[in-house]
Point group: C3
Chain length 302, copies 3
Amino acid sequence: MLISVVRGIGQVDFMASPWTGLVFIVALAAGNWRYAVYGVLGSAVATLTAYAFGAARDRVEMGLEGFSGTLIGVAFVLYFGMSWMTTLLVVVGCVAGSVVTSALVTLLKPFNLPTFTAPFCIVTSVMLLAAPSFERVRQGKIGPALPSAATGRTALTWSDIWQGMFNGIGQVFFQNKWYVGLIFLVGLVVGSWIAAVAAVVSSLIGMAVAWVLGAPAADIAAGLYGYNAVLVGMALAGIFVVLSPAGGVYAVVGAIAATGLTAALTTFFTPFGGHTLTWPFVLVAWAFLAAVPAFAWLRRAG
Amino acid sequence: MLISVVRGIGQVDFMASPWTGLVFIVALAAGNWRYAVYGVLGSAVATLTAYAFGAARDRVEMGLEGFSGTLIGVAFVLYFGMSWMTTLLVVVGCVAGSVVTSALVTLLKPFNLPTFTAPFCIVTSVMLLAAPSFERVRQGKIGPALPSAATGRTALTWSDIWQGMFNGIGQVFFQNKWYVGLIFLVGLVVGSWIAAVAAVVSSLIGMAVAWVLGAPAADIAAGLYGYNAVLVGMALAGIFVVLSPAGGVYAVVGAIAATGLTAALTTFFTPFGGHTLTWPFVLVAWAFLAAVPAFAWLRRAG
Amino acid sequence: MLISVVRGIGQVDFMASPWTGLVFIVALAAGNWRYAVYGVLGSAVATLTAYAFGAARDRVEMGLEGFSGTLIGVAFVLYFGMSWMTTLLVVVGCVAGSVVTSALVTLLKPFNLPTFTAPFCIVTSVMLLAAPSFERVRQGKIGPALPSAATGRTALTWSDIWQGMFNGIGQVFFQNKWYVGLIFLVGLVVGSWIAAVAAVVSSLIGMAVAWVLGAPAADIAAGLYGYNAVLVGMALAGIFVVLSPAGGVYAVVGAIAATGLTAALTTFFTPFGGHTLTWPFVLVAWAFLAAVPAFAWLRRAG
């Protein structure tokens, strides 16, 4: 069970290896020890809830019931600050997230699609939208929306590029320090060389697309245009689609689409004090996997 | 056919008994005679449309084609005032609602989910969003959004609690007087003791959650955090999920989730002059029913 | 392949005839030569992408992979102005639109529903939402939202009526000159007399509904309340539902619903600098087709 909880942290990036999970915990702690504590708490509550309600044993063991909880824990401590109320919200949120996961498994079964991080996105969006109505929740700190509305220079410096590449990997877990992203990358290498390469390339694709279209350099360097591309790139390059030349092109198109959708959803969520989370990844990955059967040169994996 | 129309009013709370429907008409009239007239009108138009288009006979007879029309009638007279235009809108809205009901029956069949009040929510949200574009509709009175944006004291008085409990039951039909909620509760007792108990308990759960999180006492006392919990609680406690200890826990979690989602959707609909309606109930009930097959200790009923 | 590209332009209005496609190109050119160029470009890129990825041959040949690309091309040059950046966006947008088309084909298959113009709506809404984040895209001209927020007189003149009828047909392609709508109508006659009649009647229904509810005459005359009714009317009158007396009534109800939803979605998209596009058509047509099996007197065609 403890191993399942650790796997639940690695599964955020599709890695079932507990070693990857351990490195990811180190990465979170390098960002701030609170992230590590709440991330593990979230994975544990989600995994235990699924186990207690009698969810499929193999899903529990592989950490597939825990990864949304991991992100719920990290996001809640980021947005609401560390407190007993936040701890309570994480527990309730992970129980609800467990139900949402099972609901999505049922709803997506006819289309053979995984839930991805949709349960995390749903629970966290709901909580962020609900927060202004509740005095005891509002007292927590609400972090800035991602990407920031910052404008400014659009030319990239060398340090923007290399730091942004690492940040695109770290922002999957809301982390914006380059060395945290680097530790996550080490975790990926431990789990799968192909996924690590896909993450680096996709992060760079996301940055390149945003740069061509004229996004502010500060947002690009913070990894805000990279993290959804990173997740889509990993998902389409070998994990859910068989790796091939056509599959590689498909993954690149997916990473580009994820970057555009990141900007679009940021605008969409703005009137709601919005937080883009990993919605762009979820929607692009669903669309691109659902489209696979229509294309003769692509094959689903796994 | 007349009995089907009356059943269509009770089916808002899942009760097929025509006696429940009659008591509910009395309750609406106790709020304002206009609600009773338009509620019956809506149920009649929706039931007749379904009958005329040749919808499944048993669904028509059980009132399952009428209950969304009931709520459309009540909501339209509440938001647009009593007029010939409103009457016309109710008729057209119920015809459209009948099509939406049939569409949802088809779309939800692979997942074995009922439509709940989704057709009402869709038609009413569309009409509320459309109203500002139309001069003859705008002239009607647009009621205040639910829950109100009121802030203020968060401590609950004794009368807040007992009135709020009844109001949570009455707000399912947009009613905010405690004695109207009491009459609805009588109607529930006539239909099903279990549903009545579930309604009372769920209304209190919704209030408790909102109180813990620090919602304004005025909103809690008006039943604004209770009505979605009431519907979810009834749906999950015996009506769509077999009653059992695990099922009871599940219903409690559902009522908690519905309360959080009520606050979230209120924020979401705000930029659109929003009205939360029973969207939180519909979404939570769909998710919790879809998740049932994944949990070994729960069974679908009916 | 060239014929498939031309068919892709006619398929916006469900016409497989290449002659219809040719007349439509003339109509676009009568509006502005840029619309014709980008419309053909969009259809070509989308068709070629589908062909290259190995989509179903019959769909490619009938132009069913091209029509969303047509609208993407026309919409992008309208909203972002003619430039190399817009051309690049059209190419990338059509590639993404091709993936979205295939994804929707998979997702809608259990319900036997066509994609309609949903891929165009999704890609264009995403790009319009993303534009404010990107300096090089923002520099293009963003056209006014449809329908306009214009208020003013609600009484219709004779020229409002006959011009509005043609404009309702032309607005399917964003065209607001009556003679452009007339040329589109000629193209429809070439393809199908029934569709042409349905288009004229539906455009008038949309205008009548908006007039009864008190919409500004300027919006009605511009065809802004007609174009979704036109598409729904054509789709339900003979093309996707067998033509019959009941089917005719059903198409009329659909055209009315599309007009109401047009106003509603215009309000919904306003906080996002919104553009209603053909979303109302897509949603109403999906609902009305999904509901057909529930109604004994209606039959699906094709």
